[in-house]
Amino acid sequence: MIGLLLAIGLLIISGIGAMIASARPRIATMIGVGGTMLGGLLGIIPAIQVLSGHAIAPIRLPWSVPYGGFYVHLDGLSAFFLIPMLGVPALAALYGSRYLSVSDGRRRLGTHWFYFNLLTACMALVLIARNGVLFLMAWEVMSLASFFLVTFDDEKEHVRQAGWTYLVAMHLGTAFLFVLFILLGKQSNSLDFDHLGSAVGMIPANAGLLFVLAIVGFGTKAGFLPMHVWLPEAHPAAPSHVSAVMSGVMIKTGIYGLLRTLTLLGPPAAWWGWLLIGIGLCSGVLGVLFALAQHDLKRLLAYHSVENIGIIALGLGVGVLGMSLPSTPLMVLGFAGGLLHVVNHALFKSLLFLGAGSVMHATGTGEIDHLGGLMKRMPWTAVTFLIGAIAISGLPPFNGFVSEFLIYVGGFEGVSASHISPMIAGLIVLGGLALIGGLAAACFTKAFGIIFLGEPRSAHPAQAHESPWAMRLPMLALASGCVLISLFAPLVFTWMEPVLVITTGLRPDQLNETLVGKVELLNYVVILGVVFMAVALILLLLRHRLLSRRQVTHTVTWDCGYARPSPRMQYTASSFVQPLTDLFAALIRTRHSLDTPSGLFPRHASLTTNTPDIWREHFYQTAFKAIVWFLARFRWLQHGHVQLYVLYIAITLLVLLVFKVG
C-alpha cells in the first residue's frame, strides 16, 4: 500500500517538477514523462501482488474534512483496474514526449505534463479511495485535469468548444454522484465505503433509485448513450496520447464506479440487469453506426469507445441478471467478459488512438478521405493499427475476441436456461453482439482500407514518414499486449478470480467450479488462435521464399487496366460504407448536400455528407436553449454594479441571521 501511495506521490511531485521547469520544455518533458513511467511501474507492483493472492492492509489516516477520511485500500477489483490505468498512461507519456515535441517553445509543455501526471495520479486514487469525500475529490480533480489536457490547443475555437462540452458533461455527471453518496451515507452517517453498504439494502426502491443515480453519474464518465455526447467532441480535440489515456482508461473509472456501487447496494433486482443490457445494446449499436458515418479518424475512434462501453455494459448486464436469478454461470461469464473487455479495450483503443496520432503527426490531417497509401510509407504504424483494428472488431485471434467470446458464451448459457427471462436476455445479447461485431469489422475495414491501402488521396499523405521510435515502441508494446492476452487467455481468466469474488459475491470455491469448465473452452480458443497465427506465419514465409529468387516490381494500387489511373478513382470513406449507412439511415440521419452534375459536359459536381450527433442536436441543444431562455429572464439582476451585488449578499446574510436568531 505504501508503495502505491509513493507511486501516486511520485506522479504528483514529478508533475509539479515539470511545471516548475516549464521554461525549458525539454527538461520539463523529461521530468514529466520519467515520473509517469516510473510511478506507473512502481504502482503496478502492488496491484500484481494483490491479484496473485496477497492481501494488502488498508491505510486509514484522520482528516479534518467533515465526513472525510484518508481511507485507502487496494482489493482485487481496484488492482484489476489499476494495472491498465497506470500502464497505459506510462506508454502514452513516452509516445507524447515525441508527439508534442513539434510544439516545443510555442506552448508550455510543463503544465501539460503536470496535468497529465495529475490525471494519472487521480485515476489511481479514485480506484483505491474508500471514503466518499476522498473519492469525489479525486474524481473531480481527475475531470479538471483532463479538461486542461483536452484544451491543449486552446487557440482553436473548436477545441475550446469541445473543452466546455466536456466540462459541463463531467459536472452534470458529478452532481448525480454527489446525490448518490449523500443518500448512501445518510443512514449510516459516515461516508466510509465499509459503512455505506450496510445501510441501503433494506428498501428495494431506495436501492433502485441509487442504482439509477450511479448509472447516470458514472455513465456520463463512461460514455453510456445518451450521456456520450462529450466523447466525439473531446477526443478529437485532445492531443492523441491524451485521447488514448482518456478513451482507453479514464472512461473506465466510470465502469469501476458502477461496479463498486453494485457491491455496496446489495443483491440487485432483475431490472437493473435489463437496464444495463438495454443501455449496452443502444450504446453498442448506435455507437458503431455513428462511427461508420464519420469522416474524422479520431471522431470515429471516439464513437467506437461508446460502442465498446456498450459491449462492457452488455457483459455487466448479463452478470447482474445472473446475480438476481441467481445463476452462477451467467454471473461469472457476464462479469468476466465485461471486465476483461475493460482491459482489452484499454489496450486496443489506446493503440488505435496512438496509431491515429502517428498518422496525424506524419500527414497533418485526420480526415480519412484525404489519406491513403500509408501502408507503404508507415509500415510499423500500419501493422500495429491493423492488429488494433482486428482486436476491436472482436475477431480472432486477438484479445477483443476473447472477452466478447466470454459474453457470447454467457448469452448461450442464458438461451439454454430454463427460465424465460435469461433466454430473452441471451437472445438479445447474442444478436446485439453479432450486429455490433459485424458493423465494427465493416467500420475498421473502411478506416484501415482508406487510410493505409490504395494511393494517397491528397498531398498530405504523399510525403508521410514513419514515426520516431519513441512513438513506435508504445504502439508495439500495446499491440503485443493484445496478442499476449489472447495467447494466455485461460491464465488471465484464472487471475480474475479475486476480482470476480468481489463483484459476484460468491465464495472462491463456488466460483472455481464454474471457472474450471470455462477455462477449457478458452483453451480451444487459444489453440485455434495459435493455429491461425501459425498458418499466417507459414504463408508469409512461403511468400517470402517464393519471391526471394525473383524480381519483385512495385506499381500503383488500382492500376487494373486504366489508361490514366488517378487517386480520385478510389473508394472514398463515405462511398465504402454507403450501403450500410443507407440501411440504417433512419437511425443515424446522415445529411447529404448534393450538387448534381448538369448539362452534357458537367463542369462541377459535389457531394458532402455530414453526420452530426442526433442526441446533441435534438436533445441537449433544445434542453440547454430552454434553460438559457429561462435564466435570461433573470438577466436584470446582473447589471454590473458591484455595490448592488454586495448589497444582495449583505441582505441575504442579514435576513438569514434574523431568521435564525429572531
Partner: protein
C-alpha cells in the same frame, strides 16, 4: 477595567459612525487607521493584566498593519488616482449616518439573541462587532470610489476580528491570522485594481465599470 474596555468600544462604534458620514477621503483613511489602533488597544484591555507575549506580538502586528501600513498604502493609491473626496454616493451622507445609527440598535438586538460564548466579557463587545460589520457593508454598498470600498472591507474585517475575539477568546489567533492575510491581500489587490482601473478608465468610479459585464443589455 471594564470601564476602559467600554470606553474603547464606544470609541470604536463612533469611528464606525464617522466613516459612514465623512466625505473627505483623507479623513476617512485617518479614521480607519484610528479604528485599527483602537482595535489593538481593545485586545490589550481584554487580556490585561495577564497578557501573553504571543498576544502582545499580535497586537503590535495589528497596530502596525492597520494603523500605519494600510493607511500608507491607501494614501499612496489616493495620490496615484488623484481623488480627494467621495462625490455623489448612492446613499447620501445624511442617510448613511442615519442608517449607520439605526444599525447600532439592530446589532444590539441581534447580539441579545445570539448565544454568547464568553459571558464574562463586556456586553458591548458583540454589538460593536456586529455594528462594524454592518457599517463596513454599508460603505461597500453605498460608495462609488474604489478606495472607500477598500475602507469598507477593512471596517468589516475589523468587525469580524472583534467577533472572533468574543467567540473564541485566546484561540482567535487563528481566526485573526487568517483575516489579517485576507485584508492584506484585499488591500494589495484593490491597490493594484485601483491603479489599473484608474490608468485604463481615467477614474475609479466602480459603478461605471458596469460596461464590463458579460451580457450586453
Amino acid at each position: 477595567m471594564n470601564l476602559w474596555i467600554e470606553l474603547l468600544l464606544v470609541s470604536l462604534a463612533l469611528t464606525n459612525l464617522a466613516l459612514t458620514s465623512l466625505c473627505r477621503l483623507e479623513t476617512c483613511i485617518r479614521v480607519a487607521a484610528a479604528q485599527g489602533i483602537l482595535l489593538g488597544l481593545v485586545t490589550v484591555a481584554l487580556h490585561s493584566p495577564a497578557i501573553s507575549l504571543h498576544m502582545l506580538v499580535l497586537v503590535l502586528g495589528i497596530i502596525v498593519l492597520k494603523g500605519l501600513v494600510f493607511p500608507w498604502l491607501l494614501f499612496r493609491a489616493m495620490r496615484q488616482a488623484r481623488v480627494r473626496r467621495e462625490v455623489e454616493p448612492f446613499v447620501s451622507f445624511t442617510w448613511s449616518l442615519l442608517i449607520g445609527t439605526l444599525a447600532l440598535p439592530t446589532a444590539m438586538w441581534l447580539s441579545s439573541r445570539l448565544p454568547a460564548a464568553h459571558p464574562s466579557h463586556t456586553p458591548l463587545l458583540i454589538p460593536v462587532a456586529l455594528h462594524a460589520i454592518l457599517a463596513g457593508l454599508l460603505l461597500i454598498v453605498s460608495r462609488r470610489k474604489a478606495i472607500t470600498q477598500v475602507l469598507g472591507y477593512l471596517v468589516m474585517e475589523n468587525g469580524i476580528y472583534l467577533f472572533g475575539i468574543a467567540l473564541v477568546g485566546e484561540e482567535s489567533v487563528l481566526v485573526d491570522l487568517a483575516t489579517l492575510l485576507d485584508v492584506f491581500v484585499g488591500v494589495f489587490v484593490m491597490g493594484i485594481a485601483i491603479f489599473h482601473i484608474n490608468r485604463t478608465f481615467d477614474h475609479i468610479d466602480t459603478d461605471r465599470l458596469s460596461a464590463l459585464k458579460d451580457w450586453p443589455s
